[in-house]
């Protein structure tokens, strides 16, 4: 007789950008987590809003703390918190603890959340050892390593391992895939010309791969590169990795017109 273990309670933090701009990334993540079966109990708490990274990176620590406290409280009851963004996950894992002094009771709660939080592809590939996504795409793709996931959380091989499970998909590695796309959150609004010049180089490198798809793990970077590709007249389609793994590539890519 097998012992009955209670399922792992997983909270999905969809992130504000996915919530507002591209809900299919959130649904894709839910679909992937559902494949694991009854060992996971997945919920999307409705108290979640923004992780506070824009405030943190602007030096507004008071606002950043307020928003962090909301996220910490919202996800307190969960065993694991999964985030379809290396940037927002990195904020929670690497920066939330620094927002609170050692003696502040919030510090322990921030530390606890940091330990329970996973970037989506790392959670699927490393924590759950997911080897079968059931996804298929007949074509080629290239992958952009977003900076925060790459350098703060070591997200590099996980998305590639997962993309290898997509039937028919061939991955063309992007030249200089670890260089920044120029998004940088509010940086892209504050220094639009500089940001625009950086993303132009990235878009050129992406086009040089002659792939059907550009895939990445952070919606902000993908909106930036997709917007540039479109302005350059490229036909390349752009998707978040959760969408590719959840077989949602029949829908419009990021920035793609509906009648296209």
């Amino acid at each position: 007789m097998t012992e009955k273990t209670s399922p792992l309670r997983v909270g999905l933090f969809v992130t504000c950008l996915v919530d507002l701009m591209r809900p299919s990334v959130g649904f894709g993540a839910l679909h992937l987590l559902a494949r694991i079966g009854p060992s996971l109990d997945v919920l999307v708490p409705d108290q979640q809003t923004c992780c506070g990274q824009p405030a943190y990176n602007s030096g507004d620590l008071v606002s950043a703390r307020t928003l962090a406290q909301n996220v910490i409280e919202t996800f307190e009851g969960f065993d694991r918190v999964v985030v379809p963004s290396g940037s927002c996950a990195g904020m929670i894992v690497k920066h939330y603890p620094n927002l609170f002094a050692i003696e502040d009771p919030w510090r322990a709660r921030a530390d606890s959340l940091a330990q329970r939080t996973w970037e989506l592809t790392s959670f699927l590939a490393e924590h759950l050892d997911l080897n079968d996504t059931g996804a298929a795409f007949a074509g080629t793709a290239t992958y952009h390593d977003s900076c925060a996931g790459l350098r703060e959380l070591g997200v590099k091989h996980q998305p590639r391992r997962l993309l290898a499970t997509v039937e028919g998909l061939t991955l063309n590695e992007l030249a200089d895939s670890e260089s920044c796309c120029g998004f940088g959150g509010l940086f892209s609004l504050k220094y639009p010309d500089v940001s625009g010049a950086i993303v132009d180089q990235k878009a050129q490198a992406v086009e040089n791969t002659n792939s059907d798809l550009l895939v990445g793990g952070d919606l902000g970077c993908l909106m930036n590169v997709a917007g540039k590709l479109k302005r350059r007249g490229s036909k390349m389609r752009v998707f978040h990795i959760a969408e590719v793994l959840a077989n949602l590539t029949d829908a419009c890519g990021i920035g793609e017109d509906q009648d296209a």
Binding site: V14, V18, L20, M21, R22, P23, G26, F27, L30, V44, D46, Q47, T49, C50, G52, P54, A55, N57, S58, G59, D60, L61, S63, L67, N70, C147, A148, R151, E152, E178, S179, C180, G182, G184, G185, F187, L189, K190, Y191, P192, D193, S195, G196, A197, I198, D200, Q201, M223, N224, A226, G227, K230, R231, C252, G253, I254, G255, D257, Q258, A260
Partner: protein, 480 residues
Amino acid sequence: MSNPIPPGHEPQCHDFQAGAKKALDNKVLQALLERTLKSGFQQRRLNAKARLPEYDQLRDQARDLKNHVLDNLDVYLERFEAQLTKAGGHVHWAKDAAHAREIILKICQDAGAKTVSKGKSMIGEEIALNDFLDANGVVPIETDLGEYIIQLRHELPSHIIAPAFHLSKEQVGETFKEHHTHLDQDRDLSEPSVLLGEARAELRDKFLRADVGITGANILIAETGTAMIVTNEGNGDLTQSLPPVHIALTSIEKVVPTLEDATLILRLLARTATGQEQTVYNTFFTGPKRQGDLDGPEAFHVVLLDNGRTDLLGSEFRDVLRCIRCGACINHCPVYAVTSGHAYGWVYPGPIGAVLSPHFVGLDEAHLLPSASTLCGRCEEVCPVHIPLPDLLRHWRTRGFAAKKGGKMQRLGLALWAQLARRPGLYHAVMALGVNGLKLMGGKRGAFKSLLGAGGWTKTRDLPTPQGGTFQARYRKGER
């Protein structure tokens, strides 16, 4: 004492935005940057790193060494002074840029100097030494090729290890023709080696005539009282050994305890900076010429500049004092890669400059620099002494925010966003309205070509439209 911008050293650009714009519009510069950074500096560093299996281990050691020195800075500096004094040299403590300039001028005047030859020194740039000497009747002559070029052009360095990095060889040729008027105007200067030869010929005589030689120092060695410098052109050796007086101008954080420690820094420095196993010339100076020595200066001075560094030591920016000035953070910065160095306005560009400049010139002048970064983290990744540059940039942003720098709109926007986002019910309702409005405007289009309020973004790229409905609203309606 704070060090306002020295006279004659006003920034070439007070406004990072305007400086960046100028660089972005400069097609020659853009082509140069694209060609030289990735396949040049970045690739050469990678190659050198691959040839040295213990490279990363050395980085940890260097970080620990520098931290140890910073914890005991007074001890090692006093040891250095004692040892150098024993060897017949003189140590001068300069609390700020003005003080350092006065010390150097006095040494030059006491030596009756008319001309001084100079090896490359970023500290010389930091204290704006050339303009000051010139104004006081002492003619400085830069002997590093890059420094010589920018001296002719009256420019700041655009890179800490390659001062004329922003110039093509054609531009250098034009500058030489403009200034070396005694030479044939129709001579062919298309080959870099010819440019180098011409500079060498011009400089040789000046080396011989200089009354004082001024160099920087990459490392100070406490146990022996030695200052050492690395150059690829050998100009440091000539500057140091030909004139009767040698001044090594450097800053207090360059000291290490032993010769062995210096070799640790040297193993990292050249590999990280240029991908060389070693810089071509590694020159150690310990005091003036001794009895029986064949060459060397009659008098040897070391000027130790503080210029606010002891303030950094006690601040959240302490880690920046580990810097060995290799330039790797600059070489790997995506912003520098399109703006080059002059946009940063002062002598130190790139991530290291964005951390140092607000300290030297104040946040009023330099508050845009710490925010001119995507915080991609590549600078920290390549730093040979693990300086957490993104964190340090954030610390400046925090100080800037507290001092109400930056746009009012941004402050207001952030405050409003934070107020809204801490009220999830209201937040979701307001956001759903906004998203649905945008979706209506976008129609079947996947992206906006232009959008009121996002004009900066849409000037250079499209802005993807929202997919339709917020995730939260759709999820609450039961969509899966």
